[in-house]
């Protein structure tokens, strides 16, 4: 084995008395890919940041970091600065906030070249064009003067990679580079990283929570939890024979199982006909409507008692708009029928009695609970609206029962949302929906903000509740693995329209449409779709 490019020994990071990273050691040779895997709060990101002295000012770092013959812990700021962006490149999770919105991407990449290589105008521009071409941005000549908001998410991440590669670094640190991207784009970006690594012989330190990516890209894996490195080894070995129980737990945590058995033929609980959500585009002094963005464009669906309809699609496909429109949280046209009642024609007040029967659980467990209300008040709020006759004690009993049903202790009711973790908060949100004993639940990406191990717990809980109460779900998700574990039937959406629908098992086994096949391949095998140029901004499908 050759001399390691990066060797980290006993790296610890403290925030006051809190230990964020505890004596982490690993080595990385040129051309190798090491994946740092862990759930949120495991200290994987702070490890990467502290390698280059980018940790928050309140943190104190001890240990040794040798990079290519230089000791980096405690090194002078000037030394670190000459290494950052030059010999070590970094890519972050959120491409929108990592790029400066008021400068063109050409200018931002050129700046890196100017700082470290002293390239001036024309030379820098020529090199930038080469880089944009290398990272697979179509028509670099036309794109170089674009601002970040004019690029799609995947293109922005490609621009970030171009910036990180500008100085041909020996080491590339990628911190969750694909988490904010759609599955097909994620597969493309991973492919790009891999081919660039082979072309330049770079070392790649890849930080992620997603084990399927690790299996796809990494040579070796380090598993972290609670700031400690619990297991390290070759990817094959770890996936085949995990030694540490945490690794086993992590591997087993992927959402699994089959949807709850469907009751015998029953009537639709909710159905739509030609449901449309069109947002007007207004231009000019008089704000005349010049066209529409068709978020949801003529969707027909029906969900039976006890059935889960999965809605999958990439971001911008209109799947969340569909869920909101069903509950009339955003205006729409077309028929919506809930338990035989017309929903669309009712006034806001006349709709209220129906709301008892349909509820929603949101994606973000931190945003969907009012921080100023106790858990008991949050869960009990719907009861005050729909069953005003209840006495305070009866209400408390119902709240307590709902909390027990989602697996929380009754005592949580007296506490406030900020005291709970993401998974517990999501349970509270589910309790809020369940306390009204609804018939139909819209689940808008209820697991995507959660760690894998928590995800499967929530999925199990939802399946359990469905079996017990014969609830109907509209399950919206971009994560096909989660959908597979819960949905009986499936609709695949793209640009507001239904591309494919049918029995979930049938679609997963034998997708009919090319788009569905792409989506499945990207999600389960991390295969990039053949047409790489496809990752452009979706055309603004407007009507004149």
């Amino acid at each position: 084995m050759s001399e390691p490019l990066l060797s980290v020994r006993d790296l610890s990071v403290h925030f006051g008395a809190n230990v964020a990273v505890d004596k982490v050691s690993f080595e990385l040779t040129a051309g190798e890919t090491l994946a740092l895997v862990g759930e949120s709060g495991s200290g994987k990101s702070i490890t990467a940041l502290s390698l280059l002295g980018l940790q928050p000012p309140t943190a104190s770092v001890t240990g040794q970091v040798h990079f290519d013959g230089t000791e980096l812990v405690g090194a002078a700021t000037a030394t670190l600065r000459s290494i950052r962006g030059n010999q070590v490149g970094m890519i972050f999770q959120e491409p929108m906030s990592s790029l400066n919105p008021v400068h063109t991407i050409g200018k931002q990449i050129g700046e890196v070249l100017a700082v470290h290589q002293g390239l001036r105008r024309n030379a820098a521009r020529a090199r930038t064009l080469d880089l944009l071409d290398a990272v697979g941005i179509p028509d670099p000549q036309g794109r170089i003067d674009d601002y970040p908001h004019q690029l799609s998410g995947g293109q922005r991440q490609r621009a970030m990679i171009a910036m990180a590669l500008a100085n041909e670094p020996k080491l590339l640190i990628a911190d969750e580079p694909t988490t904010a991207l759609d599955v097909t784009v994620q597969a493309q970006v991973l492919d790009l990283l891999k081919s660039l690594q082979q072309a330049h012989g770079m070392a790649l330190l890849f930080i992620t929570h997603d084990l399927s990516i690790v299996r796809h890209i990494a040579d070796r894996v380090c598993v972290m939890t609670k700031g400690e490195m619990v297991e390290t080894g070759a990817t094959q070995t770890i996936f085949a024979a995990p030694a540490h129980h945490y690794t086993r737990q992590l591997l087993a945590a992927a959402p699994a199982g089959d949807p709850a058995p469907l009751p015998a033929q029953s009537a639709n609980v909710v159905s739509t006909q030609d449901l449309k959500v069109w947002f007007p585009i207004r231009r000019g002094l008089l704000r005349r409507t010049v066209g529409h963005i068709r978020a949801v464009d003529g969707v027909d669906l029906g969900i039976r008692k006890g059935e889960t309809l999965g809605v999958v699609g990439e971001s911008g496909s209109g799947k969340s708009s569909l869920g909101y429109a069903l509950l009339r949280l955003i205006p729409s046209t077309g028929r919506i029928v809930l338990l035989g009642n017309e929903v669309q024609s009712r006034s806001w007040n006349a709709l209220r009695p129906l709301r008892k029967h349909m509820q929603i659980v949101f994606q973000d467990p931190f945003g969907s609970l009012s921080p100023r209300m106790s858990v008991g008040e949050i869960v009990g709020e719907g009861l005050k609206v729909h069953m005003p006759a209840l006495s305070a004690q009866e209400r408390d009993l119902k709240v307590a029962a709902a909390l027990k049903e989602v697996g929380l202790e009754v005592a949580t009711a007296a506490r406030y949302p900020h005291e709970f973790s993401g998974g517990q908060r999501q349970r509270i949100a589910i309790a809020r929906a369940l306390v009204l004993e609804p018939d139909f639940l819209v689940l808008d990406e209820p697991t995507s903000a959660l760690d894998v191990s928590i995800q499967s717990q929530i999925i199990d809980l939802l399946r359990d509740i469905q079996r017990r109460r014969q609830l109907s779900y509209l399950f919206i998700s971009h994560d096909l693995r989660v959908v597979k574990a819960l949905a009986h039937r499936l609709i695949v959406m793209r640009n507001g329209q239904v591309v494919e629908q049918g029995e979930a098992a049938a679609i997963f086994a034998d997708p009919q449409q090319a788009y569905t096949r792409q989506l499945l391949a990207a999600a389960f095998d991390l295969a990039a779709p053949p047409n790489v140029t496809d990752d452009r901004l979706p055309p603004p499908h407007t009507t004149e």
């Binding site: 949280l329 709709l351 949101f362 969907s368 609206v385 408390d396 809020r432």
Partner: protein
């Protein structure tokens, strides 16, 4: 039954508010300013018991009377005037012969003209004079039973022979009450207007915004001068006129808070639960906006007090008979030979403003989320 309730009801003060209170207490300057201000405020709220030209209690022929609250005709004590002058020697002798009376520590009202002042014109504070000088105009001089500390002028008198300390106490009370009422009313109106605009948005917001822009460009001071020359201004008229313009100060921030928060997921969740608009605004959105509002309130209060004082100073404020810090200041300006007038007015206004600003800073820091979660 009660078992579940005991577990489910949270403690009275939410943890967030407990932390805010702790933060407010931790700011020693603001905490002490708060208590000093509260002391002065409570003291002057009972101004009638501190500085009054009538006794608090009178025992007359076996009957307990409360002149501080009730106007008694002089005939009750054998005289003939409509209202008893308790500072008149005849009445005092009559009551003392048949009972007793309990005076407040300062035996002057803000309008009482002392007929026994030592010198003509403005009198210096009593602690600059000898007892002989103070009592020289009383019929029996130093021996006079009426020349007691309660009748001293601790901060001197103005040119009309009225006690400065009495005017100060009554003036402080009216300033703070005026400021408080104006602050509360303009906050209520401003919050309601801002909430409507922010929550409903669209045309409501657009039209209201334009109206407010036009309204704020009206030169309020000149309008005030014109109105006060047409209607004789009293406390409520002046409050109404100032309120016309002061309510807009909070609209902007409340509107912004509601605009920001109306699409929060927990607000959407409440909509999905079928909670009414009014209740969503009250339960879910208002607490967000209250942080900004409460942070601004002490500063609006001090601003209101300053406005009233400056209007009084210019002579366009409260009627001449009302006690007022502004008029004290303007008298101080016109009689420079009596520096105690200007000094008293200046120190009072300066200390009052400083206390309010310190309290305001402490409140602002207590609500600052970065401080809260440190």
């Amino acid at each position: 039954m009660s078992g579940a309730s005991e577990i489910i009801r949270p403690p009275r003060l939410s943890p967030l508010n407990q932390r805010r209170l702790a933060n407010f207490r931790a700011n020693k300057r603001g905490w002490w300013s708060f208590w000093i201000f509260l002391f002065f405020f409570v003291l002057t709220l009972g101004a009638e018991f501190v500085a009054n030209d009538r006794p608090i209690l009178v025992m007359y022929k076996g009957e307990l009377l409360t002149p501080a609250f009730v106007d008694y005709p002089e005939s009750k004590f054998g005289g003939f005037l409509g209202v008893t002058n308790f500072r008149h020697k005849v009445n005092i002798d009559e009551i003392e012969a048949n009972g007793w009376m309990l005076w407040p520590p300062i035996r002057f009202n803000h309008n009482t003209v002392d007929s026994f002042i030592a010198f003509p014109g403005a009198n210096p504070p009593s602690w600059l004079l000898t007892r002989e000088q103070i009592c020289q105009r009383y019929p029996e001089g130093v021996e006079d039973s009426f020349c007691v500390p309660g009748n001293y002028h601790w901060l001197g008198t103005d040119g009309g022979g009225r006690d400065v300390l009495a005017r100060l106490i009554h003036g402080f009370r009216i300033s703070i009450l005026f400021g408080l009422v104006l602050t509360v009313l303009s906050s209520v109106i401003g919050v309601v207007a801002g909430a409507m605009q922010g929550y409903f948005g669209g045309w409501v917001d657009l039209i209201a915004q334009r109206l407010i822009e036009i309204w704020t460009s009206v030169p309020s001071l000149y309008l005030l001068l014109i109105i006060s020359s047409v209607i004789a201004p009293n406390f409520w008229v002046l409050l109404g006129i100032l309120l016309l313009f002061s309510w807009v100060s909070l609209v902007g921030i409340v509107r912004a808070e509601f605009l920001r928060a109306r699409n929060f997921e927990y607000v959407n969740a409440a909509r999905a639960l079928g909670v009414s608009n009014r209740r969503i605004m009250w339960r879910h959105l208002l607490p967000n906006a209250m942080v900004a509002t409460l942070t601004f309130m002490p500063f609006i209060l001090s601003g209101s007090v300053a406005t009233l004082t400056s209007l009084d100073f210019l002579g366009f404020g409260l009627p001449v008979t009302a006690p007022s810090l502004g008029r004290l200041l303007s008298e101080g300006k016109s009689s420079l030979d009596a520096p105690w007038l200007a000094l008293t007015g200046f120190l009072t206004v300066a200390i009052m403003m400083t206390l309010l600003v310190f309290i305001g800073e402490a409140v602002r820091d207590a609500f600052d989320p970065r401080k809260t979660f440190r």
